[in-house]
């Protein structure tokens, strides 16, 4: 099956879901979410068998289409398409268990009538993320990125009867628009100085260039700043805490995993020609990335220390993870016989990040729903109230902090290895400080759950069916991959 079918199928699925929402029964929207998750699962399986033009039979016409100048399908594309699909499906499952809150703050409070679109919109964002994974041209990448961003404007402000959600929506809209401006402006400078928007052609031009033109560097800098908005890195990180806190929890999870990963795959695509061997701009770009990484590590981790709200803590943690991931890019290396390259490391890190973050948000969504609070205090004494939940969250938080024998450790380990190999010592120092701060703020949760007594009226938090299965699966995956991480590397290829 040609690879472009995947996006086509995803968009079709989204339209079918909208039809179901418009013409289906008004009182129950649950089936829309279930169909969306199953449909995405099916496309996930198709993705494993999809082929690009290089594997096409010689007589097939589609392999010669000009589409393939804009759209590529390789190992990275396959991995990140699968990533987007899995993440979207899990987010929709999370939304299913989060229905009561969605119903409370949309039109007709208490009824599910206005919640149906919430299951369809992520599917469109998913299509955009999948296209970003395949981007070979800055123009098409821009269109795909806007499809994702515009969908998120709606998803963030979805709780239209909740002030926090609306405020988050406005903040996201303003900064998103600003970053779009940066992106277009940057692409224009790149086009102006090299005469192409195609990344492959850009790579060929740079391979023969002798010196770095300032115009190109300006363009690259602008694009980096705008992608920093997507991945949540300094200097475009200011929206994250407020938007994460205000948005509905499944949207926050989607922003922090799906949107971030899509930003990173675009960054990988964009950096590949710039950082190739012999490129005159490589040195400058790596300095820019190192500054981004160092600043992000410092801001994300130090600001997280003071947080008392778990959702906000996860927001800063998401900035700090962006810092580690950017550090892997700043110490750019291609894969060798003895070491993993930056691309593999980033992909690996994101895969473990998906497991940990989504599991944490699943639990947070239910704690918010059942105890009405997202503060860390709401987790006090959870070890006694809901032992299973507390055990799972302990593993998840340990993985986030990077405790060995959990999946989270490997990612940090690889990033540290890359940075040490490149001799980026000041970044290693900042990353060490960051990881130590991480111990502090992630263990705050463990401390609250096990060491602090619960208040008398704290409810027993029970995970509903879907959340329970997902949390158990993700937690076990974190532990198993912590000892035996090879399966993720098989997926990356």
């Amino acid at each position: 099956m040609p690879a472009y079918y995947l996006e086509a199928l995803t968009v079709t699925l989204g339209i079918v879901l909208l039809m179901l929402e418009a013409f289906g029964p008004a009182h129950s929207k649950r089936h829309i979410g279930l169909i969306a998750a199953c449909g995405l699962g099916l496309i996930f399986i198709f993705n494993l068998f999809a082929i690009g033009p290089d594997q096409a039979r010689p007589d097939s016409a589609w392999a010669g289409w000009p589409l393939w100048n804009l759209y590529g399908y390789d190992g990275i594309a396959r991995f990140y398409k699968g990533f987007a699909l899995a993440c979207t499906a899990l987010v929709i499952l999370m939304a299913l268990d989060y229905r009561p809150i969605l119903a409370r703050f949309t039109d007709h409070p208490g009824s599910e009538a206005a919640t149906g679109e919430y299951y369809a919109l992520p599917v469109f964002a998913c299509a955009g993320m999948m296209w970003m994974a395949s981007a070979k041209d800055l123009a098409s990448a821009f269109v795909a990125l806007e499809l994702v961003t515009i969908t998120f404007y709606i998803l963030v402000a979805f709780l239209r009867r909740n002030l926090g959600s609306l405020e988050a929506g406005v903040k996201y809209l303003i900064l998103g628009a600003l970053s779009t401006g940066f992106l277009v402006y940057g692409i224009a400078w790149i086009y102006g100085s090299t005469g192409t928007m195609n990344l492959q052609a850009l790579g060929l031009k740079l391979a023969t260039a002798t010196e770095a033109s300032p115009a190109l560097l300006l363009g690259v800098g602008l694009v980096l700043v705008s992608l920093a908005f997507k991945i949540g890195a300094v200097p475009m990180h200011v929206w994250i805490p407020d938007v994460y806190q205000g948005a509905p929890t499944p949207t926050t999870a989607f922003l922090s995993v799906g949107s971030k990963a899509a930003g990173f795959v675009l960054l990988l695509r964009f950096l590949d020609p710039l950082l190739q061997v012999g490129s005159p701009v490589a040195k400058h770009v790596m300095v820019m990335l190192a500054i981004l990484a160092g600043a992000t590590l410092l801001v994300g981790n130090l600001a997280a220390i003071a947080q008392t709200n778990f959702k906000r803590l996860l927001a800063y943690s998401s900035i700090s993870h962006a810092g580690f991931l950017t550090l892997a890019l700043a110490s750019w290396q291609t894969s060798s016989a003895t070491a993993m390259g930056s691309v593999t490391t980033v992909s690996f890190y994101l895969a473990t990040y998906l497991l940990m973050t989504l599991a944490a948000f699943f639990i947070l969504a239910q704690v918010r729903l059942q105890s009405g609070s997202e503060e860390i205090d709401a987790f006090n004494g959870l070890g006694k109230r809901s032992p299973m939940l507390a055990h799972a969250l302990t593993v998840i938080m340990a993985a986030m902090a990077g405790v060995p024998l959990t999946a989270g450790f490997w990612g940090k380990w690889f990033v540290f290895s890359l940075a040490v190999n490149q001799g980026l010592w000041w970044c290693v120092a900042l990353a060490t400080i960051g990881a130590a701060a991480g111990f502090y703020y992630y263990f705050k949760l463990i401390r609250a759950m096990w060491w602090v007594e619960a208040s008398a009226d704290a409810p027993v938090v029970q995970l509903p069916g879907i959340s329970r299965v997902v949390v158990i699966t993700l937690t076990l995956a974190i532990l198993i991959l912590g000892v035996f991480p090879a399966p993720i590397l098989w997926l990356i290829g």
Binding site: S336, V403, P404, T432, F439, F443, A486
Partner: protein, 476 residues
């Protein structure tokens, strides 16, 4: 087979969490491990002990366990002996048996894994595995201001581990491999990076071993921790840092370690003299034990300093290993008995103690033995270790060249023996002699069952004290 040594406690811990009878399962696991550990010590060279299976190909990381040399064997023996004693002497608070025994077993599994791992990744990872249950035990079941103390140890050791991680990664990078035997076979790494790596390793491992001035987490943590946790951490897990320095830093970074020789000597004197004086002023028995455990790390660092001064020193390594073993056993005995005293009298404050020898002579005898061991009385294992450390400092010493930093440190460190004699005997006198107090009058002596773990540890101390060759022959 070594994998079994790691897996048995983990599986037993899982079984306990799944509902098995906690104490029974823990005892069976610890007993099995002791048997396996002794078997390993008898036949360390047999090929069936080691295991290596690939976990990752780039970088090449293996789940590799093996008895690289006698040092691993001795540490393994220490771990299994103390584990059995800790499980035997522990008494879980009502309703918390699962957590109590499962955590103890996990600490033990992590420590064993760290000592037999022959891959740098798992060497580090197993140690971290052991730290988490330590934090939880102190935080949940600790005494006194448990939350603040657990918080402090979490941050201290977490930060130390990260510094260590940076050092180990740098080491693996310049050595070009994660396999410890391969690294050692290739010999010292590139001289340019040695100083930096050595600094990271000394600080990283140093925090884990409570090297002065990074020691302030240790004594409060041991005072607060439940008895098995204190026994396992002070006795076994803390030796990981020393083991790491001896295993990696000394053979691979000779010039780097030499460059830091003088600062290291100053710091270890901080352990011996400064902490020694602090110990003199403790008003509680657990405070004395905790600080004395920090202080005695100084002697082992002295052996490490002797090796750093001259890697040719053939006496310092066996001295360090022997002292690590002896200290591990004796401090575990001390914490185990202190826990008994607290359970019998309800207090460890010297103000409430006194005259305990009258109602409980057996307890007094065993505690006296532990005190004498820690002071370094001949006939007990610590004596052999300490004497060897002092002698090794003067190995290859040429009077014509004058005293180097190690020799000067050694001369000053010998005064530590006097300090530990003073606080050891004073603690013993305040606890067991003098008039009885209301809390000690009604105390009962140890029953046979309660004596078992102490007898096991005391027997080992005596056996190794009289025949140090039992261990030293393993090191050849």
């Amino acid at each position: 087979m070594l994998l079994a040594l790691v897996l048995i406690p983990i599986l037993a811990a899982l079984a306990i969490l799944g509902g098995a009878q906690a104490r029974m399962a823990a005892l069976v696991a610890a007993g099995l491990n002791l048997a396996l550990g002794i078997a390993a010590a008898l036949q360390p060279a047999a090929p069936f002990w080691s295991i290596s299976c690939s976990v990752l190909s780039r970088p090449d990381i293996h789940l590799a366990l093996g008895l690289y040399d006698g040092m691993s064997v001795v540490m393994l023996l220490l771990a299994v002996i103390v584990t059995l004693a800790a499980v035997l002497s522990g008494k879980a608070p009502e309703g918390r048996e699962k957590l109590y025994y499962a955590s103890s077993l996990l600490i033990s599994a992590g420590a064993i894994g760290a000592f037999v791992a022959t891959d740098l990744f798992f060497f580090y990872a197993f140690h971290e595995l052991a730290l988490i249950p330590t934090f939880l035990m102190i935080g949940i079941l600790g005494r006194g201001d448990r939350r603040a103390i657990a918080w402090k140890i979490t941050l201290y050791l977490g930060f130390g581990s990260l510094i260590l991680l940076a050092g180990l990664l740098w080491l693996a990078h310049v050595a070009g491999t994660f396999s410890i035997p391969e690294m050692l076979a290739r010999g010292p790494v590139d001289a340019a990076s040695q100083k930096g790596i050595a600094a990271l390793l000394i600080v990283g491992f140093g925090i884990l071993v409570s090297l002065f001035p990074f020691h302030s987490w240790a004594a409060p943590a041991y005072a607060s921790a439940p008895a098995p946790t204190a026994m396992l951490h002070a006795g076994v897990l803390k030796k990981f840092g020393l083991y790491g320095l001896l295993r990696l830093a000394i053979p691979l970074l000779p010039s780097g370690m030499h460059a830091w020789l003088t600062p290291l000597c100053v710091l270890l004197l901080g352990n011996i003299l400064w902490v020694g004086f602090v110990t003199l002023n403790q008003r509680r028995l657990d405070g004395v034990l905790g600080h004395s455990s920090v202080m005695h790390m100084g002697y082992i660092f002295l052996a490490i300093a002797a090796l750093a001064a001259s890697p040719m020193n053939d006496l310092a390594l066996p001295a360090a290993v022997l002292l690590m073993f002896a200290h591990g056993i004796s401090i575990a005995l001390g914490f185990g008995l202190a826990d008994r005293i607290e359970r019998k009298t309800g207090s460890l404050d010297f103000a409430d103690l006194g005259g305990l020898a009258k109602p409980a002579p057996g307890l007094a005898f065993l505690f006296g033995l532990a005190t004498m061991a820690s002071i370094g009385l001949p006939g007990l294992a610590n004596f052999a270790g300490e004497v060897m450390v002092f002698v090794s400092s003067f190995r290859n010493y040429l009077p014509a060249e004058g005293m180097g930093p190690v020799q000067i440190t050694c001369v000053l460190a010998i005064w530590g023996v006097v300090i530990s004699a003073v606080y050891g005997l004073r603690a013993f006198r305040r606890t067991f002699h003098g008039p009885t107090r209301p809390s000690t009058e009604t105390a009962t002596d140890l029953s046979l069952c309660e004596r078992a773990p102490s007898l096991l540890l005391a027997g080992v101390l005596l056996a190794v004290g009289i025949f140090p060759n039992l261990l030293l022959s393993l090191l050849q």
